[in-house]
Symmetry: C2
Subunit: 409 residues, 2 copies
């Protein structure tokens, strides 16, 4: 039996407890929406004011060197590397997730010129699939974006596949692929593996290097708390950096940007994947969030998230037995930092939860998605959120019992 | 004979004089660098703090609707439209200039499938040319990026040309193309015209609609004062919006983003060109700069810029006769908001000018580029900058006279 007191006891010994005060969280709000938009770190506004007044305003374009703006995409990339298991020099912060997906997918396709299949699963984030479809279309439609069931991916990898393009943690179900096994299968078939870690980076440990991932992309506005539409990142394993070329390389990705030469020559390594001037305000805001996660340590964040996911799922079943269908897996090894439940009246329940200050997402048709972002979430918050859920369910049952016609409304 | 008193008299009747105090400008700094990085508006930091505390922090992802974040790319786009002569519904703020250039160039090429030439001039900004080269490469190398002399563009447009891709105002010389004439010539040959207005938007009036431009791109961090790496914009004439498709369309560019459908269906109009979540902090900062220009009125800004360019060029010749070669044209109709001069010792002179607080740019090999951003620049600033230039020239001559060997250093 889980009680609020037992959860409070966990809070009292939580080594990460102090981080919660470093985020702007409203009184009376319970924050389970970190996989949609992470909350602002307390330090972000002051950091932006400093960049505006002391760098942009004071030194203007000389800030590119004086304040090392030019290195921010790589410097913050290396910090994110610590969160996603990438050794330095493999992560670059730039553009958006979709743009980076196009960039790396185009590079990967070009590295497998005799193959025509981009393999993904039917649970992948639709936006990723759209980017693949539109890339294929622009290349003359010779590539097929093949969708298979989530559980059938490994068995579907054959020598027609150029790239296996998957999302590490499913955005709707929280189910996690076995990145190492699928990547190994891809490699054994001569294919490349491109992973979208938007729903895992900063929530749980990711091991891109250990899994021998070839390419990866991720976003900055979910668990990294970089702000709405924060700059995104890309990962290219060292072994592919000399070969990887995409159409999205421009001025800042030239071997000598300041020479203004007439023909494009790719810069060495990751930097060739830059185009325009990096978005410094966005990068500065993102760095604040990333720094908090690096300071906390992703192993500790992931461990707390796993314990909280287990406790939250158990509490839902304890307080609202048999009411919800669990969409997210019970096994922590297959689950990525979120608890997802469905209910035929999911939409209405979601509205009531929001009105009670339990921030979360509804994903069509009826999935309530609770993100477990360990830096912002107390153990007692799990209790309080489930009590709201229980009250909503109870009230709906009472209303329905006393006014039966309402059931048809 | 121009005197400081005469220039001070111009300041005293300048209807735009009050705008200077709405930018963060350091004491002792003269700001001629607006075409590299415009200075911060005074209101920007507070605006970002408001977005962080009152929107992002308070309403989290519900801000997309509550605070209308979802409309920011189009709303700010329409405001920029007022600066570049575009009726509402044709300008969208998103991504970077290079990404947008790729996007529109890909769309334009696809609209002229039987043609293989992208025509540009040898003075175009190299980053734009790199994007065209890399796009062509990714499409199999069937397209030629043809560079001709700046004065030979019009005569070089023939029926092999798919797209004429030019920068309105040359980044190094300040020379302006005749947008209407070149676009008309392109159309008469069945080609499309894509204009980069990075060096004109916000500095001088641009007339995209009146010139019948097909496509355009521009950046937010120069005259628009949106901050380093601010979001950029794209323009697509209404008549092309149904046909224009590019590979860079994703989740936010889907007909129904929140439905999470499995296949891409383009949104109507401009919005289809979005991919990922818009960069709200960057958009909010950009809007502050754009609002100042809209409030001032681009016609008035352009008129002051033209008068200041004339006065600045005349002053340089008056105070340093015969010393510099004028790279920018004398005719205001051929010139775009900057005065560019060259000198064999341009690099050294530039360093000394910077040390004296005259913010400007050096462009290889020896061009000193002075941006005339009318909202930030007093008429007396022209005098003071030229006095610095004169002092540097005089000191160098004296030094050289007393130590002749230094001339060979």
């Amino acid at each position: 039996m889980i009680t609020r007191d037992k959860l409070a006891a966990l809070d009292s010994v939580d080594p990460l407890a102090g981080f919660r005060d470093r985020f702007e969280l409203r009184e009376g709000t319970l924050h389970f929406g970190g996989n949609s938009l992470g909350p602002p770190p307390v330090a972000t506004a002051a950091r932006l004011a400093e960049v505006i007044h002391e760098q942009w305003g004071k030194d203007l374009n000389r800030s590119w060197l004086i304040h090392d703006w030019v290195q921010m995409p790589a410097r913050i990339g290396d910090k994110i590397g610590q969160l996603v298991g990438a050794a330095p020099g493999q992560v670059l912060v730039t553009d958006s997730l979709s743009i980076n997906l196009h960039r790396l997918l185009a590079a990967a396709i070009a590295m497998r010129p005799d193959r025509r299949v981009i393999l993904t699963d039917s649970g992948n984030f639709p936006g990723d699939v759209y980017m693949a479809q539109n890339l294929s279309r622009s290349l003359g439609g010779r590539h097929e974006v093949r969708r298979v069931e989530e559980t059938a991916v490994e068995a579907s990898i054959d020598e027609s596949v150029a790239v296996v393009m998957l999302t590490d943690v499913n955005f709707r179900t929280g189910r996690r692929h076995d990145m190492a096994a699928i990547t190994a299968k891809a490699h054994s078939a001569g294919a490349l593996a491109l992973w979208d870690v938007a729903h895992s980076a900063g929530a749980i440990p990711v091991a891109l290097d250990a899994a021998s991932a070839d390419f990866a992309v991720g976003c900055g506005y979910k668990y990294l708390c970089g702000g709405p539409g924060a700059p995104a990142f890309l990962y290219i394993a060292h072994r592919h950096q000399a070969a990887a070329r995409s159409p999205l390389s421009g001025w800042m990705g030239h071997a000598s940007p300041a020479a203004f030469e007439l023909d494009y020559q790719p810069a060495d390594g990751l930097r060739r994947h830059l185009c325009s001037t990096p978005a410094i305000l966005g990068l500065a805001a993102l760095e604040v969030g990333v720094d908090l996660l690096v300071e906390a340590g992703i192993a500790r964040v992931g461990a707390k998230s796993a314990v909280q996911c287990d406790a939250f799922a158990a509490l839902i079943e304890q307080e609202c037995p048999g009411t919800f269908t669990f969409v997210s897996p019970g096994d922590p090894g297959q689950r990525g930092g979120k608890v997802c439940i469905s209910h035929p009246e999911g939409d209405a329940i979601s509205q009531e939860l929001l009105a009670r200050g339990v921030v979360h997402d509804l994903r069509p048709p009826d999935v309530l998605r609770f993100s477990i972002a360990a830096l912002c979430l107390r153990y007692v918050d799990l209790w309080d959120a489930v009590q709201h859920l229980k009250a909503i369910i109870t009230n709906r049952a009472v209303t329905r019992g006393s006014r039966p016609e309402a059931a048809h409304a």
